[in-house]
Symmetry: C2
Subunit: 192 residues, 2 copies
DNA sequence: CATTCACACTAGCGCTTGCTTGGTTACGAT
DNA sequence: ATCGTAACCAAGCAAGCGCTAGTGTGAATG
């Protein structure tokens, strides 16, 4: 039992775990399934991670960190208007959710499976991501682009986006970018 | 093993199961936990249900049926305008989700845990509920109250509503009715 | 008064789970 | 040539899992 925290091998294994967690859910994924998919035996798994819980923790950290990074990049590259910024956020969110199809989904859907210690360790990262969303939404509200309470709008928008995981078909013709555009159009369709 | 399908006792047990499934999730809920909460021994459980899967099936059927019934009642009682009907649906949805706090939540969040046979048995009921939503949304679109693609809008709206389970605080000051109103206001806020 | 029935109990089987142990291999640095 | 270390394996343990078998009730039914 000789857990290393930042080996490149560990990153690799984390990616595999993320995929399985999305496919089966955390509880139904056994360490034997994880090991098999990783091409090692189940005992070897505990050389890289202290326990199963730590694998979940690593996946969620990866997923949230990734979403935060990509969101910031998107904001840096887009036009500096409230609408463009809102669109950039929604698009980035959907792409990490639907295209990667792994770590970010786990971060959203398996959060409850974290124990108290892991939750405490990750909550700051999650808060940072949500704060970014809220600032973008606050700007859009101030500019009169959309309406409502800052927190409520954030939660409704994120809810609509997060739920796409349940019905989105990657083989379908709609791209994440298109979905983001449609959602914003729905909220900003002002009278004629 | 003498499973009865429509006993009143079974209804009672189903209610208890729903609460536990919401609290812990289906996978983490053991038959021993269920039995204890029901005030019987784990072996006795299988007099009422063939297996654990059948308990989930009963809960989800109950939750969806209930949501459908209440939605229809709400529609029958409200004004016959697209906006009032939309509001009635959203309110009914949130109330079965946040006030009951059990069977309907399980229906939404544990659907994936159903085996093929159960899913096939329940899919028609679920389709009926979603069809009702889509007809109300189609009317609102036709009346120009909201904008977008019928299916996309349905999914975004239901996503926003379903996600409330994750953050709603029943001890807070906002009622389901208020949430429903705010969501619709967000989508129908036409410019000045 | 005998039988049936719904409902509950005790006891435990067969299996899977997360995790541990003690030891082996591959390989770059010394 | 030797050593250190990261990576892996075979084997298995203790606990917990869903579920079954067989039995005991007290109330309703004939």
């Amino acid at each position: 039992m000789n857990v290393v925290n930042d080996s490149p091998r560990r990153k690799e294994l984390t990616r595999v775990a993320a995929q399985l967690f999305v496919q089966e859910g955390f509880d139904r994924t056994t360490v034997r399934m994880l090991a098999q998919e990783m091409g090692i035996k189940s005992g070897s798994l505990f050389h890289h991670f202290r326990d199963k819980q730590e694998i979940l923790c690593a996946v969620i950290e990866e997923g949230t960190q990734n979403a935060l990074t990509i969101a910031k990049e998107s904001l840096a590259q887009c036009e500096n208007t409230p609408e463009a910024r809102l669109h950039a956020m929604a698009r980035a969110h959907l792409e990490t959710l639907l295209t990667d199809r792994n770590a970010h989904v786990v971060a959203l859907y398996e959060w409850r499976r974290l124990d108290e210690a892991s939750r405490e360790h990750l909550i700051h990262l999650r808060d940072a991501y949500e704060a970014l969303w809220q600032s973008v939404i606050a700007d859009a509200l101030e500019a009169g682009l959309i309406r409502g309470d800052k927190f409520l709008v954030s939660r409704f928008v994120l809810g609509a986006l997060n739920w796409t995981v349940r019905w989105y078909d990657p083989a379908g013709q709609r791209s994440p970018e298109e979905l983001a555009r449609e959602l914003i159009a729905m909220m900003t369709a002002h009278g004629h």
